[in-house]
């Protein structure tokens, strides 16, 4: 009786079988890698803004503290983007005729918002609260990076859930004294873990990892 299948079909079958295992695995793996990559998380990608605000100049050169502009960071969930009126505190006198600041003046005098483009964007189902992090000794730099070296704001960290959980599961090495929260180049005087353990005890740090801490 002649065989039904030609001989080459044996190999064909083995190849297909292999592909059937490899292709979905590859797709899923690549997918999972892609989602964590800067392509998706937008890490280190500067965002163009309607007003060319230079953090490096304002923080490093002028020496303004983070909280002067981001005023609600210690009191509420959102750190707060400053209103145009705050910019005008200085820029009604400094560079007050500059073309680059025209949108700011226009926003102030017409009492309309400057449409800043979001850089750090968490999904809508994540409820992040700045004030508790500040209160427990998490510095601005930890999540936002060296803002004093950014001419254009970029997201320094991936801000994936993995990033948040890594710290929440072990916050102590990332802690710093509360008066150094906004400091940009602070280093722990000793081993960060040892120092952090002391701070955690002092500040009563209990980083929660239950789901409803962030997902409500």
């Amino acid at each position: 009786m002649t065989p039904l299948f030609p001989r080459w079909s044996n190999n064909a079958f083995r190849v297909v079988l292999g592909l059937l295992v490899l292709v979905p695995t590859a797709l899923v793996t690549l997918g999972m890698l892609w989602v964590r990559s800067p392509f998706r998380t937008e890490q280190n990608q500067s965002v163009v803004q309607p007003v060319q605000f230079d953090h490096r100049h304002h923080v490093e050169d002028v020496g303004i503290d983070c909280r002067y502009c981001h005023q609600t960071v210690e009191k509420g969930a959102s750190a707060g983007i400053p209103p145009a009126s705050l910019c005008m505190n200085c820029h009604s006198q400094v560079w007050n005729k500059s073309d680059k600041l025209e949108p700011v003046r226009a926003a102030y005098f017409s009492d309309t918002p400057i449409p800043w483009n979001r850089v750090h964007r968490l999904p809508d189902f994540v409820y992040f609260n700045h004030s508790i992090h500040i209160a427990k000794g998490v510095g601005c730099e930890v999540c936002h990076g060296r803002v004093d070296e950014m001419p254009e704001m970029a997201q320094a960290e991936p801000l994936t859930m993995e990033f948040c959980l890594d710290c929440h599961r072990d916050p102590n090495p990332k802690l710093r004294p509360k008066d150094q929260i906004t400091s940009m180049a602070w280093q722990a005087p000793e081993d960060p873990r040892l120092y952090g353990d002391k701070l955690a005890a002092e500040y009563n740090v209990h980083a929660r990892t239950s789901c409803t801490t962030c997902h409500r």
Binding site: A84, P113, N204
Partner: protein, 1051 residues
């Protein structure tokens, strides 16, 4: 009718098993065979449905499915599978794409002290039919999103009723009137004002003889001042104060004592309370304090015994459900019941100069005698309440009983009616002007007569929809069109708006300044929470136009309070600021209790004694709806979908009849009937209600208006169907308009009703079809004599909380959140349900979806009938929400771990992980999980409808399970703010929405980690038990048994 035996507690609590009672009993008690339709369809929603025609359950009309043929009116199986496959493929890709770029929009000039994104709380208030509720409203970024009571005010101590919670929904309703129109054409505000001033100038010539102003009675001094100003400018004009539901007690006190007085009750002092057609546990018109004080006595505390409640009524109310003893009597018989009590009481404690006629009580005699004896024993610690539905002479009988028993000054105090209008008029005119406002319907009657006689040239209406609620014999609607210039301050495009010439958008209560006087005499200021969204105007502003006074209302209030509080002080701003922040200022009120009956008391007794001859028709019993009140909330989706506390009906009213009446008329629940009275007919479904009086039909007022949601079946596969107010047509009417049967002569109950059963049948959207507990210990109620230790209380079976478990024991080191719900205090008012919906962005789903059992309320109130008798059952209400079981059956079945247990004992629901398997809901024995079958919250929502969402809580999309979270957003907010401020969390710092809203404080929430907390103490209370404890779920929510204090004479 099959002999239906409702399983009572006696059977359940380990007494002799029902099987022992004989074969016949067992046969009727066992589950009957499923009906044809159920077998054909294959699924059923309740036991009643399963058995089809059980005599009292709803008969389901569903087309049977024939195998092989496509399912009628629905997607075919093949297309469904195709869509499913395609959908799955697309859905998985969502995570891969980047989110759309977002913008942050700060202020241009930020107001000082503003924390964007953080809640702010403003004190304000709301007045409904003379009941003023002090409120505290939570606002985010200028949007009010949650209403609470003002915790500093003794009237409600932070709680609210149902309506205060739900009015928020109407604030953002896009179907509100948005522009000034003249006979259908949109006009500008200037043109309205120009036309109005022209018409007013004409009226000035005749001193306003042709001007009529139709308003609602109010306690507000601001509105009184404005109305007085109008009358000062036009002395011959007439101001008609009209409320569809006359819920005042002045007419009764006038007859009893010769003076118009307002009662205020101290129910905490009463050992025996008798409610004759008085639903005092409902917040309008009795207020929240009455319910709270009554409920506080519902549990024996130390030496102070528990109170006892008797109720006599025709329709089953929430007060009737709470009563220890209840008498079913037609509304027309309540008068003789009251007289019987007065006769028995004055036999022992006579009233000087008053002889009480004897009445033949028939079958009610035994009840009345026992009740009167109990009252006499309690003496000055009793209270008899006669509800506002009863005519003035019967109310007078009630007041006289209190007088005879010595209750005046103890459990009830009177004070003179504050006639604000007259005070303001005399202040303006310098002399007392005119008599107090007469009976309100009389005012409306005169108005209609004046319109007939063409005396009315200019009519301004600032009452909510008087055409709809006006008694049918007056026919205001037909006549309104004849008035030359009519202007209506319209909240909606309702029936009055159709008739009026000019329609002015009305500002919502939260959009304008106002004031009011609460029941305890304190003066409240209502500050607005946002500027009118749709250009609305308040009544004060409209009357200001009439009075030609452009002073802004808030300046008037400021001036009045300056006068009232600190007339000598020049600098009032600081005091004013503090007053507005707090919301009220207390005032001492002088009680003025009569000591003897008035002159007209005997006449009132004689009138009350006139018994109507037995009529051949049924008695029509109209009552204020628990959902829409008098109809002003008929467009409020939250309220329409809120199940009625007694019938569990949503989206409609019904003709309620007793089982005996239903049997006589061969009625089943859902049969469409025609009710005819005085040549007017309405069509509505019937509903068989155990506990209803025989020979009477009850219908709730306020329905029969255009419903805000479409009633036709949705295309059930499309993901974004619009549940949108804009898609409403005129066919979408919710319920039947009972005002059509109402005549001004007999506004509440009337004889001679004819009921004709039609051949139509309609499935009702009931949120609960089950009536009995079927032998399970769900809502436990014990007699007061059985109170003892936990073991004695209901046997070990019900109250022991711990059983051996094969799970590893979990050690909770931090907070241990738990909740206790006291069934002894729960009246079933459903304020907690609306509060939860408001706080947690729970959607409404519409009538069709409710019929499928898809209502989304996280917290539901189960209502069970108890006892042996179908005619005279007991009834008990039980709030059930997620129990947050320590051994939660829902957690271990989730394939994607979307529901997990927190380290503090919360059963957490993570919406973003949920894929919609619904296994958790399947496994939950309490059925507290709700699934978003469709996109209830999304869809074509208008911009203002989106503003109502609480930003602290995720808005759930289709395909996601949700349930009570113990208000985890409040827990987190409370915890974060305490930790940021470096303080400890105290018991009571974190309150769930349901806990805050409950007027009787039946819900307690807190952490078990603190042995001094209220919840820890309640856990140890012998009355505490876990629902379905035998399943070993170890719920964190426990209930406390209800206690019945029965009179041994009547038991």
């Amino acid at each position: 009718m099959p002999s239906l035996k409702i399983w009572g507690q006696d059977e359940a609590l380990g007494a002799s098993a029902p099987k022992a009672e004989g074969g016949a009993e067992a046969a009727s008690a066992s589950v009957a065979a499923p009906s044809e339709e159920t077998l054909a369809r294959g699924w059923f929603r309740s036991l009643e449905e399963y058995q089809g025609d059980r005599g009292l359950g709803a008969r389901v009309d569903v087309q049977p499915v024939v195998p092989g043929e496509p399912i009628p009116d629905s997607l075919s199986r093949r297309s469904f599978m195709q869509l499913l496959g395609g959908g799955l493929g697309v859905a998985g890709l969502q995570a891969c794409f980047k989110p759309p770029p977002g913008e942050i929009l700060p202020y241009g000039k930020q107001p000082a002290n503003l924390l964007p994104g953080e809640p702010q709380h403003y004190a304000t208030g709301l007045e409904i039919d003379g009941i003023v509720s002090p409120l505290l409203v939570t606002c985010f970024d200028g949007r009010p999103i949650k209403v609470e009571g003002n915790p500093e005010h003794p009237e409600n101590l932070g709680s609210t009723g149902v309506f205060e919670q739900a009015v928020l929904e109407q604030l953002y309703d896009p179907t509100r009137v948005q522009s000034v129109t003249e006979q259908g054409q949109i006009r500008s505000d200037e043109s309205f004002r120009a036309e109005l001033s022209k018409a007013l100038k004409q009226q000035e010539a005749t001193q306003g003889a042709g001007l009529r102003v139709l308003v609602t009675p109010t306690t507000s001094p601001l509105l009184a001042k404005r109305r007085a100003q109008v009358l000062q400018r036009f002395p011959k004009a007439k101001l008609v104060e009209y409320a569809p539901l006359e819920l005042g007690f002045e007419a009764g006190t006038q007859l009893a004592f010769g003076r118009r007085l307002t009662p205020s009750y101290s129910l905490d002092k009463a050992d025996v309370v008798v409610a004759l057609d008085a639903d005092f546990l409902w917040t309008v018109p009795y207020g929240q304090r009455a319910a709270r004080e009554f409920a506080a006595r519902r549990v024996p505390q130390g030496a102070r015994p528990m109170n006892r409640l008797y109720a006599a009524e025709a329709n089953l109310s929430i007060t009737g459900m709470m009563a220890d003893h209840r008498l079913r009597a037609r509304s027309s018989e309540i008068g003789s019941v009251a007289l019987g009590v007065l006769h028995a009481v004055t036999a022992q404690r006579p009233l000087a100069g008053l002889s009480v006629p004897a009445v033949d009580l028939g079958s009610h005699a035994r009840f009345v005698t026992a009740m009167a004896n109990d009252l006499l024993k309690a003496g000055g610690k009793s209270l008899v309440l006669v509800g506002p539905r009863q005519p003035a002479e019967v109310q007078a009988v009630g007041h006289l009983i209190n007088l005879a028993l010595g209750n005046l000054g103890e459990t009830v105090s009177f004070r003179p009616v504050a006639n604000q209008l007259e005070t303001e008029r005399s202040a303006l005119a310098g002399a007392a002007a005119g008599a107090p406002t007469a009976d309100a319907t009389q005012g409306l009657r005169e108005l209609v007569q004046d319109i007939d006689q063409k005396k009315v040239e200019l009519l301004v209406v600032a009452a909510p929809d008087p055409v709809h609620s006006c008694p049918s014999d007056l026919n205001l609607g037909g006549k309104l069109g004849a008035v030359a210039f009519s202007a209506y301050l319209a909240p909606y495009h309702d029936e009055t708006a159709k008739q009026a010439k000019w329609i002015i958008p009305a500002a919502h209560a939260f959009e304008h300044w106002g004031d009011g006087i609460a029941a305890d005499g304190s003066h409240l200021v209502f500050q607005p929470l946002l500027a009118p969204l749709f250009g609305g105007r308040s009544e004060a502003e409209l009357l200001g136009l009439l009075a030609h006074d452009a002073t802004p209302p808030h300046e008037l209030i400021y001036g009045a309070w300056h006068q009232h509080i600190a007339p000598d002080q020049k600098e009032f701003d600081g005091v004013w600021g503090e007053l507005v922040r707090r919301g009220f200022v207390g005032t001492e009120t002088q009680a003025s209790n009569p000591s003897a009956p008035g002159d007209s008391a005997s006449g009132a007794l004689a009138k009350a004694a006139q018994r109507k001859g037995a009529s051949e028709g049924l008695e029509l019993n109209l009552y204020q709806s628990y959902q829409v009140h008098d109809g002003r909330y008929a467009r409020n989706g939250w309220l329409l979908e809120l199940p009625d506390p007694v019938t569990k009906l949503t989206w409609t009213n019904a003709a309620l009849v007793s089982p005996k009446t239903a049997e006589k008329l061969a009625l089943e629940t859902g049969d469409i009937v025609e009710l005819t009275l005085r040549n007017r007919t309405i069509r509505l479904p019937a509903y068989v209600l155990p506990g209803h009086a025989d020979g009477a039909v009850s219908v709730a007022l306020g329905f029969g208006q255009r419903s805000p949601l479409p009633r036709s079946d949705y295309p059930s596969i499309l993901p974004t169907f619009a549940v949108n107010a804009a898609d409403v047509t005129d066919e979408d009417i919710a319920g039947a308009d009972a005002y059509a049967l109402r005549s001004s002569a007999a506004p509440w109950f009337d004889d001679g009703l004819k009921l004709v059963k039609t051949s139509d049948h309609r499935k009702l959207a009931l949120s609960q079809e089950l009536w009995s507990m079927e032998g399970r210990e769900l809502a436990i109620e014990v007699p007061a004599s059985a109170l003892g230790t936990r073991q004695e209380l209901a046997g070990e079976k019900a109250t022991a909380l711990e059983q051996p478990s094969y799970y590893n024991p979990v050690e909770y080191r931090g907070f241990k959140w738990a909740m206790a719900i006291d069934l002894a205090r729960c009246t079933g008012c459903s304020a907690c349900v609306v509060a939860c919906q408001s706080e947690n962005n729970t959607p409404i789903v519409g009538e069709e979806q409710v019929k499928r059992g898809r209502e989304m309320h996280w917290l539901r109130l189960d209502r069970y009938f108890t006892g042996d008798s179908l005619d005279d059952p007991g009834a008990i209400t039980q709030p059930v929400a997620c129990e947050h079981c320590e051994n939660a059956p829902c957690e271990y079945v989730c394939p994607v771990n979307a529901t997990v247990h927190s380290d503090e004992g919360l059963n957490e629901m993570v919406y973003n992980r949920c894929v919609g398997t619904r296994y958790c809901s399947n496994n939950c024995p309490y059925h507290v999980r709700r699934f978003n079958y469709l996109n209830y919250s999304y869809g074509n929502k208008s911009e203002t409808e989106k503003m109502i969402f609480n930003p602290d809580v995720t808005v759930r999309s289709r395909g996601v399970m949700e349930k009570c979270t113990y208000c985890v957003q409040r827990i987190e907010r409370g915890r974060i703010s305490a930790r940021v401020q470096g303080r400890e969390l105290k018991d009571g710092d974190i309150k769930t929405a349901c806990q805050t809203a409950c007027p009787t404080q039946a819900i307690t929430f807190g952490t078990l980690s603190d042995p001094q907390s209220a919840i820890s103490k309640l856990r140890e209370d012998p009355r505490s038990y876990a629902l379905l404890k035998e399943l070993n779920t170890r719920p964190r929510t426990t209930h406390l048994v209800r206690i019945k204090n029965k009179n041994p004479e009547l038991a």
